[in-house]
Structure formats: structure tokens, C-alpha cells
């Protein structure tokens, strides 16, 4: 009888720990050995000694965290390769979330656990598509783990943006999108849809665009939004981090249509409360149907939920005879599609406030 993953894959204060392999996955604090699923800041933190990840994730981490802070030693592992760490066979399979994102497949003494990190299963021109791996325990996120979240095809949402540009040809369309993943996907989808005008980009988004370009993902004519004058931006698409779409930067633009690309935009009161006139339901996370289809595809008898709406997903899994367990991993969140941002109120920063995923402007 192979050992149940709960005997060798443990939840610790620093995060998931593979005991026989002696490494953590996406640890919360600096550790000796870390396997990183992808480059978002709630998964890829600074200060580890040895870091194992895809080449793309290593490049993203290094660019975000700075030379030397993304692991004293880095080891790249391709999607097709395997590695033996203390008797544990480790492979990385595409997670379809952002460039370089990977599921970590762990095999030990005949048992297999898959830690999927963040993922989505639909097509994304900027990263490899998710591949389900049958396993004994599937570790999943549940950011959009409620049946109200059903993302429409991203291409349809891009078509709505293009339609708005036709209806309001004089207005600047400011699209809020996170720096890593969402921005490049929105740009690539616009290009696929035949939009070949220059797109103006907030400075905070440039570093990640450059990393994507270095891996051969080209995004057409991009220009800095900061130096362009107001007239040039009339009727243009401007893309910036979500935090910037309502600040002074955006208000300088000509009668802007404020758009935001996020799975949360499905709930219109959320869109309204953020002052978004054109919500674009585009997410890098699996929606309710994708989550449930994935549970069926990997056919694991047991699923562990790291964060998000775990109650609903575990309930739905239970209805199909799948055992569910909520891990309540701390420091993990919907950071790449944050709902609330730290407000500017009197006194100290709120508890649990974390730095945003974007680069500092």
C-alpha cells in the first residue's frame, strides 16, 4: 500500500513541505530549498537558498525580486523533465496560469500528489495549456470556487472592449490588468482580434512585458503611457495596473472609459464599487466549471484546497464522493486579482495587508 500523501506532504507554518524530499512548495518565508509554481508574489517570495522552477518562472522571479534575491542557487526544470530529490520524483507540468506556471507532480513510493499552484484550463496565447495529471491527492486553489463565477470566453470580452472603442472613438479606454500574466494575455488577445494600433502601457507593466518578449512572446507596438500626450491617447487603449485606473494618472486622460480585466468583474456590484464602467471578465484562475471539470479529470479520491472559496468547492466535491480538505494556507490569496486594496486610513496598515503583485511604478 503506497503511503498516503498526508504522511509525507505536510502543512507547516511556512507552507506545504515535502518531508522525504526536504523541500517546500511556494513557501511563505525564506527556506533552504523551495520549489516555486509561478512568479506571482504570493507564491514566489524572496530569500530562499535553493530554488527549483521553470526557466520562465526563474526569469520572472529574478526580474521582480532583483538579482540574488530569487534564490542563492537556481535550478531550471523543463515541463518534460524529471528530477529525483531524496527519493521523491519531481516533475513540473503546465498550469496554464501565467508564463512558466507549473503544477508540481510529486511521486514517492508509488503515491502521487499534484500541487497545482494557481491554474486555469482554457487557452491562453501567452502560456502553455494546463495538463491534468491523474493522482491520489490533488492540491487546488479555489479563488473562484462559487457557482456564480463562470468566466465567458476571453475573446468575447475583448470583443466588448473593441465594440466600446467603436462606440466611444474619442474616449481613452483605460484597462486595469495585473502586471504578470493578465497584461500580456489582454495584449495578445487584442492583437489576435486584429487590433494593431499602438497600445500605451503604464511604466509598472514594462518589466514583465520585457521578460515575456525574451521568451518570444511579442505583443506588437507598445508605447509608454507616461510620455504620450493627452491627444494621442484619445480613442486609444491604455493599460495599467488595477491600482492606477482610478488615480490621478488615469484622470489625466481624455474622458476615460475605465475597464478592469478580472474574474471578480462577473459580480456587477463589485465592478460598480470599484468605479469600473466596462468590466471585462477575464481571469487567470479557473472558474467554477473549470475547477469541477479538473477534479473529475485528475480523478483523485482526495482534494486539498489551499485558499479561496474552499467551503463551496469541498461541498461540491463531496457530492461526487471526493474527499475534501481545507488547508487554510496563510499568506495565500487572490493577490493577482485582489478584491480589496489597502486603504489610506489613519493609523497603521491593516493586518494581513500584503504588497501588491505589481512592480513599484
Amino acid at each position: 500500500m503506497p503511503p498516503h500523501p498526508e504522511t509525507w506532504l505536510k502543512v507547516t507554518e511556512a507552507g506545504l513541505y515535502c518531508e522525504p524530499g526536504g523541500f517546500f512548495i511556494d513557501p511563505l518565508r525564506p527556506v533552504d530549498r523551495a520549489v516555486i509554481t509561478h512568479g506571482h508574489s504570493d507564491h514566489a517570495r524572496p530569500g530562499h537558498r535553493a530554488v527549483l522552477a521553470t526557466a520562465e518562472t526563474l526569469a520572472i522571479m529574478t526580474r521582480r525580486l532583483g538579482e540574488g534575491r530569487a534564490g542563492e542557487s537556481q535550478q531550471a526544470l523543463g515541463y518534460a523533465e524529471a528530477l529525483d530529490i531524496g527519493g521523491v520524483r519531481v516533475t513540473l507540468r503546465p498550469a496554464g496560469h501565467v508564463l512558466g506556471s507549473a503544477q508540481v507532480v510529486l511521486e514517492w513510493q508509488g503515491a502521487r500528489a499534484v500541487v497545482s499552484g494557481d491554474y486555469k484550463t482554457r487557452r491562453d496565447p501567452t502560456c502553455a495549456t494546463f495538463e491534468p495529471v491523474p493522482c491520489d491527492v490533488f492540491v487546488t486553489e479555489a479563488t473562484f470556487g462559487l457557482p456564480v463565477f463562470r468566466h465567458p470566453p476571453a475573446e468575447e470580452e475583448i470583443a466588448r472592449l473593441l465594440a466600446s472603442l467603436r462606440v466611444f472613438p474619442e474616449r481613452t479606454h483605460v484597462v486595469g490588468a495585473y502586471a504578470l500574466g493578465k497584461t500580456q494575455r489582454v495584449l495578445a488577445l487584442l492583437r489576435e482580434a486584429g487590433y494593431d494600433a499602438p497600445i500605451y502601457v503604464h511604466g509598472a507593466l514594462t518589466p514583465m512585458n520585457e521578460v515575456y518578449a525574451s521568451f518570444g512572446i511579442t505583443l506588437g507596438d507598445l508605447r509608454p503611457a507616461t510620455v504620450a500626450n493627452r491627444e494621442a491617447l484619445a480613442g486609444a487603449v491604455v493599460i495599467g495596473p488595477p491600482g492606477a485606473i482610478q488615480d490621478r494618472w488615469a484622470r489625466r486622460l481624455s474622458d476615460p472609459v475605465v475597464a478592469l480585466a478580472s474574474g471578480w468583474m462577473r459580480v456587477r456590484q463589485r465592478a460598480k464599487s470599484r468605479g469600473v464602467e466596462l468590466p471585462l471578465v477575464i481571469s487567470d484562475h479557473a472558474d467554477w466549471d473549470e475547477l469541477n471539470a479538473t477534479l473529475d479529470a485528475v480523478a483523485a479520491p482526495e482534494v486539498w484546497v489551499t485558499h479561496g472559496a474552499e467551503d463551496a468547492l469541498i461541498h461540491a466535491a463531496g457530492l461526487r464522493g471526493i474527499r475534501g480538505r481545507a488547508l487554510h494556507l496563510v499568506g495565500r490569496g487572490d493577490e493577482d486579482e485582489a478584491v480589496a486594496e489597502a486603504p489610506s486610513v489613519a493609523g497603521s496598515a491593516p493586518d494581513g495587508a500584503r504588497e501588491a503583485t505589481e512592480e513599484p511604478p
Partner: protein, 527 residues
């Protein structure tokens, strides 16, 4: 239905009045009849369907969704119609055409309660998520998209380039889908006219006073009145009927039938403050609030919360328009008219005599009665001008009081806040325990709201239906206009118009204010 859903979506997401107007004008210009008029009526709440209610939606949700998943989803989204529209499960093999808006309205109006669930479920199967939302909002009423009847009238006026007063004149004579109205506006027919109908006239509004400017004004050229803590209303009585209008042009007579009754037989257009008055004493605003919350008040509520209008201006006497006269002249006409007609449930708002600004400032500072919000200053010669002209009228509100209180319970808000915990019950210390002294749901920025919502979700220690009890750890600075005795609060006091002025993450809960500090602020009349 899809086009109406799109319109609704745009209106929900557009805070700016002018953009809302643009969307309405576009709808008026492009939507075919009768959906055009039906849509406008739906937005302004003119349509109401007795057989279709929120309970129907709950029933359908229970039939078609898992109860646990529904409860978790509803808890997240906060709005029933939106929750069901988003999670409604697709049904294989449904490819019927979606119904038109007019067909939906007609069916809702004529179908019996028993047949409705099956029909609505079949519609939901054919519609996309945003159309499902529109349909469910149509059923429950209360679109909450910030479109009043008045805004629709303004949109019509702008679309057809005519004075909005002309639309107001025609409005009482038409009904959804407003065919006669559009015939007139598009040159196919005469202007529909309600003969001498009790129509709304936009009121004259005041600007906040900048105290620094006061020195430049001559006190002899101004009149002062109390600013009453009720709601501004317009009483319109003509030979054909009587109507009570809110300041924004919404008809509210159904909630205050005793006022409408008191207007019968009169002929005038009057401007005043709607109050709850007991033996001549103005009751706290919360008493009026209870009346405003009811569409049709019961006998008990009307007996215990009697409504009253305190008049301060007159726009028409008989059929004569006196808006062009100066304030003093209109006031004289109002006083004479009141003395002659002596209508029930109405009295005169007295002038507050003063001879210098210093004297008036002292009067304002000394006023702590529940029913008074501050003072109004009006130029003695000012004609009655619709809108908010700069210069003739000022409101001079009392300075707010503040208190450091501890957040105790939170509840989700309504409308755009329905997915956030935005209604806060807060308390102060009495000995070792916290006692609630009020509820606030305004004063914070959207960012602060997002922060508070997250804090509440992370610090919940109990749930009672929609209410969450939180860790007694967060201090809120609360601003309010007055403190009053209250038997409805365990603390024995209630605050008037409390709002969150600051989040005091710097202050430990133990250092929040004590009940003694609140009692010291009670207004003399209520002590």
C-alpha cells in the same frame, strides 16, 4: 430583453448623471415601441407586478440549485437577483427565442401566481446572465440604477429639445408604454394634457454657507429660518387632485396619506419640510424614517408617527404663479393664506429674528433640539428659482459632534454595496461592557469600505442571519448631529445622522469613549 439588460448594465456601472442621461437618450432614440416606454417605466419603478415577488425567485433557486452552494453564493454576492442570475444552471437543449421586454411585462401583469414559477423558469433558461438579472429585477422591483422619473423626463426633454416643464405637464395624462407622449414628441399628435394636474415644480435649493463670506453680507438683507431635520417636500393641490412630491420629483403621497387628505380642497403649491410631529414637538428623524420605509403605512404607524408639513414657501396661490415675487412678498402671501385656510397637519416655519451675524451665530450654536439641523439664510428679495442658484439661499448646518466608538456588528449594505459589509453598529463602554449607541452606513471612502469589509470578514466571531458580530477591537470615530434619548437602544441614547469620520486603527478599543460622554451631549429637550 437583451437590449434592456444592456441598458440596465450600463446604468448600473455609470455613476455620472450626464452619462446616464446619454444612455437614456440613446434608448429613447433607438428602441422600438412598446419596449421603449416599458423599459423607461421599469427603470423608474412605474411597473409593479403583484403576483411576482422575491419569494418566487427564492423558490426557483431552491428548485434548481444546491442549497449549500446557493447560500454560500448569496452570502458572497449579497443581492438575490444577481446571485440567481449568475448561478442559474444551463439546461441542455433549450433554444427557444428570448422573450421581448413588452411580452415579459404583459405576462407578469396578467399571469396568476400559480402559473408564474414555471413561466419564469422557462424564461431564465433562454436568457443569458445579464438578461436573467434584468428579468429578476423586473420581478422584484427596485432597479436601484439611479434613474428617477425626473431623470427620464429630463432625458425626454433633451432628446426632443423641449422644456422639461412641458414634459411634466403632459406626464400625468400618460401611462406606460407612453404611446401618446411619443406621438406628441415625434409630431404625430397633440400634447397630452392632464387638465390642471398637480404636477411637480423643481424646487429652489440652497448652497452651504462659507462662514468667511458672511462678513460681506448685510444682515438686514437676509431672513433666517430653522433648518428642520425632516425631508423637503412639495405639496401640490389643484382642482383635479393633490400630490405630495419629494425634492427630487418622486411622488411620495402613498406613504403619507394623511397629508394628501389634508391637501384636499386646497389650491396651492407649497414648499415645506415633512416631519413627524407629536404635540407640537418634532420627533427624531428616525421616526420619520420609519414612515418613509413603508409604502403603505398601517393605522398604528400613522397614529404613533403622525406626519406633518412645516411650510416655508409658496410657489402658486390658487392658479397664480407667484415664483417671480421676492421672498418677503411670498412669505406674506403664505402667512395670509395659512391663516385663512388653516389646513390640518400644516403650520408655518417661523422666522428667526436677528440683527447681527454674531447674534445669529450664537443662536445657531445654542440650538441642540432634535428637530433642528441648523439654519437657513435667504435673501429677502430672492425670487423662487428652480435649481441651486449661487447667492440667494444658504444652509448653515450645525457643527457635528464626534465620538470614538467600537465596532460591534456589521451587516451588508444595499445596491452597489450589497456585496460589502457596509452597515455598522457601534457602541461605547458602560462599565465593563459595550452598549450599542448607533448605526452608520456612510462617511467612508470606497477604499475604506473595502478595508472595513475585509476586516469584518477576518474578525467575525458570530453570525445571526445577515448580521456578523465582530471582535471588539476596531475603533471608529463617529460624527453625528445630535444625541437623543431613545428607548429603542439598550444604551438609552440614539445618535442623529451618525457617519464614520475616521478609522482609528491607532486607538485600542479600551480607550474608546464611555456612555457618560454621550449622555453629556444629550440635547436639552430630550434630556
Amino acid at each position: 430583453m437583451k437590449r434592456f439588460a444592456d441598458l440596465l448594465e450600463r446604468l448600473v456601472l455609470t455613476p455620472a448623471r450626464n452619462t446616464k442621461l446619454a444612455h437614456l437618450k440613446d434608448w429613447i432614440a433607438t428602441e422600438p415601441d412598446p419596449d421603449r416606454g416599458i423599459g423607461l417605466a421599469a427603470l423608474t419603478g412605474e411597473l409593479s407586478f403583484d403576483a411576482a415577488k422575491a419569494g418566487l425567485i427564492r423558490t426557483l433557486a431552491a428548485e434548481r440549485t444546491d442549497p449549500v452552494l446557493f447560500a454560500l453564493s448569496y452570502d458572497f454576492v449579497g443581492d438575490l437577483a444577481e446571485t440567481v442570475s449568475l448561478m442559474w444552471p444551463a439546461r441542455e437543449g433549450v433554444n427557444e427565442a428570448a422573450p421581448s421586454l413588452a411580452a415579459v411585462a404583459r405576462t407578469l401583469a396578467t399571469t396568476s401566481r400559480g402559473e408564474l414559477p414555471g413561466i419564469v423558469a422557462a424564461w431564465l433558461d433562454t436568457l443569458d446572465a445579464s438578461s436573467r438579472f434584468a428579468l429578476l429585477k423586473l420581478i422584484t422591483g427596485g432597479m436601484r440604477v439611479g434613474v428617477s422619473a425626473r431623470l427620464v423626463k429630463v432625458a425626454l426633454a433633451e432628446r426632443y429639445g423641449i422644456d422639461v416643464a412641458e414634459i411634466e405637464e403632459a406626464w400625468p395624462a400618460v401611462a406606460p408604454p407612453y404611446t401618446a407622449l411619443f406621438d406628441w414628441l415625434e409630431g404625430r399628435g397633440p400634447q397630452p394634457r392632464g387638465v390642471d394636474a398637480p404636477v411637480f415644480r423643481p424646487p429652489m435649493l440652497a448652497n452651504p454657507l462659507d462662514e468667511a463670506e458672511l462678513a460681506e453680507f448685510d444682515p438686514r438683507e437676509f431672513r433666517a429660518e430653522w433648518k428642520w431635520d425632516g425631508i423637503r417636500v412639495q405639496c401640490v393641490a389643484t382642482r383635479t387632485g393633490a400630490k405630495l412630491w419629494s425634492r427630487g420629483g418622486e411622488e411620495i403621497g402613498h406613504a403619507f396619506p394623511e397629508i394628501v387628505e389634508a391637501m384636499e380642497g386646497l389650491e396651492a403649491v407649497l414648499d415645506g419640510e415633512l416631519l413627524v410631529l407629536r404635540e407640537g414637538v418634532v420627533a427624531p428623524f428616525s421616526d420619520l424614517q420609519q414612515r418613509l420605509n413603508r409604502k403603505a403605512p398601517g393605522a398604528k404607524l400613522m397614529r404613533e408617527h403622525p406626519a406633518h408639513v412645516r411650510l416655508y414657501d409658496m410657489l402658486f396661490e390658487g392658479t397664480g404663479d407667484i415664483r417671480g415675487l421676492g421672498f418677503d412678498a411670498r412669505r406674506e402671501r403664505l402667512e395670509t393664506w395659512l391663516a385663512r385656510e388653516a389646513p390640518a397637519r400644516m403650520d408655518l416655519s417661523p422666522l428667526v429674528p436677528f440683527s447681527s451675524w454674531e447674534e445669529l451665530a450664537a443662536i445657531r450654536a445654542g440650538a441642540r433640539e432634535a428637530g433642528i439641523e441648523g439654519l437657513m439664510l435667504k435673501r429677502a428679495d430672492s425670487p423662487y428659482v428652480a435649481g441651486r442658484p449661487k447667492g440667494p439661499w444658504f444652509k448653515w448646518k450645525r457643527d457635528p459632534l464626534t465620538l470614538d466608538a467600537v465596532l460591534m456588528y456589521a451587516q451588508r449594505g444595499h445596491g452597489k454595496r450589497s456585496s460589502f459589509y457596509s452597515d455598522y453598529t457601534f457602541g461605547v463602554w458602560r462599565g465593563e461592557e459595550l452598549v450599542p449607541v448607533g448605526k452608520a452606513y456612510s462617511g467612508f471612502t470606497d477604499k475604506e469600505l473595502a478595508w472595513l469589509d475585509r476586516w469584518i470578514r477576518n474578525n467575525t466571531i458570530g453570525r445571526f442571519g445577515p448580521v456578523r458580530e465582530v471582535e471588539k477591537a476596531l475603533v471608529l470615530e463617529v460624527a453625528f448631529d445630535a444625541a437623543q434619548r431613545s428607548s429603542r437602544h439598550r444604551s438609552g441614547v440614539a445618535l442623529r445622522f451618525p457617519r464614520i469620520s475616521r478609522i482609528r486603527t491607532d486607538k485600542p478599543a479600551a480607550e474608546a469613549d464611555r456612555i457618560e460622554a454621550v449622555l453629556a451631549l444629550l440635547d436639552p429637550a430630550g434630556r
